[in-house]
Symmetry: C2
Subunit: 138 residues, 2 copies
DNA sequence: CCTTGACGTTCCAGCCACTGGAAGCCTTAT
DNA sequence: ATAAGGCTTCCAGTGGCTGGAACGTCAAGG
C-alpha cells in the first residue's frame, strides 16, 4: 500500500512516516516508480511506534523497543528495563510539575487581580523574599 | 558590567543573555569596543526572566510579564490572567502525565522481566486488547 | 491523445529555547 | 611582543516533527 493508506491505517501522518524512514525506523520497499510500498507488517510496526510515542518514549527508546518487538529471542527484562527507566523519568517530571504548580497556584491565589499595580506574582518573580521557593541563591 | 558578570549575577549563562538580546528581550548598551554593557536594572530583569522561565512560562509569556514588570501603571489583573492561563496549562500537562504514569506503571508491574520473550509491555504497544488505554481506534 | 487533479517524491525551512563551536577582535599581564 | 582569556558574530545542532515549494506519476474524463 502507498503512504496515504499506511498513514490512515497506522494513525500517523504521512509526513511522519517519511520522517521515520529518514531516521531509519521503518524502511518500506519502493515500487518501480519510486513510491513507498508499505506491507501489513510495516503498518503493525508503525502502530507500535505510535503507541510507544503516545506513552512518551523517546525515538531512541522506540528504536530499541521496536528491535525487541521484532526479535523473537528477546528477553522481557530488556523491555522492562527501558520501561522502568522511562517511568522514573516520568515520575521526576511529575514531581517537578507538581512543585511548579504549587508555587504558581499560591501566587495566583495571592494576587488580587484588579486594577492596582501591586502584584505578588511580579514581586515573587523579581525576587522579593517571603516565598521560600528559591532553591539556592547567592 | 560585561556579559560574564551579568551572567553570574543573574544566574543565566552568557549564551542565554546573548540569545535574549537577539530575540529582543533585554538589550544592553554597547561600549565603544562593541562589548555589551549591562546595568543593575538589566540584571534585575534577567533575574526576573530566569525565575519566570523556571516557573515554566514561555518566552512569549515572559515578554509580556517583563513589560508588565516594567510598567508602573500595570494592572495586576493582566499579570494574573497570564498566570492563570499558565496554571491551567500546567494542570493539563500534569493530568496527561498522571494518566501516562498510571498506564506505564500497570504495564511495568505486569511484566515479569526475566529471560522469557513474553512481554505485556510489547503486547500492549502492539495493540493487544485488554489495556483500555486506547482513546479511539477505528 | 491530452489534460486535469489527486496523489506521490525530494528538499528546505521553521518550530522552541537554547547550546556548542569556530573564527576573529579586544584587553591585560608578562 | 606575545600569550591567555574574554568578547564578538555567525552557523549548526538538539527532538520530533510540520509546512510548503517544486516536480514526477497515474487514472479518469473529454
Amino acid at each position: 500500500m502507498k503512504v496515504a493508506e499506511a498513514a490512515a491505517r497506522s494513525g500517523l501522518p504521512a509526513k511522519t512516516l517519511r520522517y521515520y524512514e529518514e531516521i531509519g525506523l521503518i524502511t518500506p520497499r519502493r515500487r518501480d516508480n519510486g513510491y513507498r510500498d508499505y506491507e501489513d507488517g510495516d503498518v503493525n510496526r508503525l502502530r507500535f511506534l505510535r503507541r510507544a510515542r503516545q506513552m512518551g518514549f523517546s525515538i531512541a527508546d522506540c528504536r530499541q523497543l521496536l528491535s525487541l518487538f521484532d526479535d523473537q529471542d528477546r528477553e522481557s527484562a530488556d523491555v522492562k528495563s527501558i520501561a522502568v527507566r522511562h517511568l522514573a523519568h516520568i515520575d521526576a517530571r511529575i514531581e517537578e510539575m507538581n512543585l511548579l504548580r504549587r508555587n504558581l497556584a499560591r501566587l495566583v491565589e495571592a494576587c488580587h487581580g484588579d486594577g492596582r499595580a501591586d502584584c505578588p506574582i511580579l514581586d515573587d518573580l523579581s525576587g522579593r523574599p517571603g516565598c521560600g521557593c528559591e532553591p539556592e541563591e547567592t
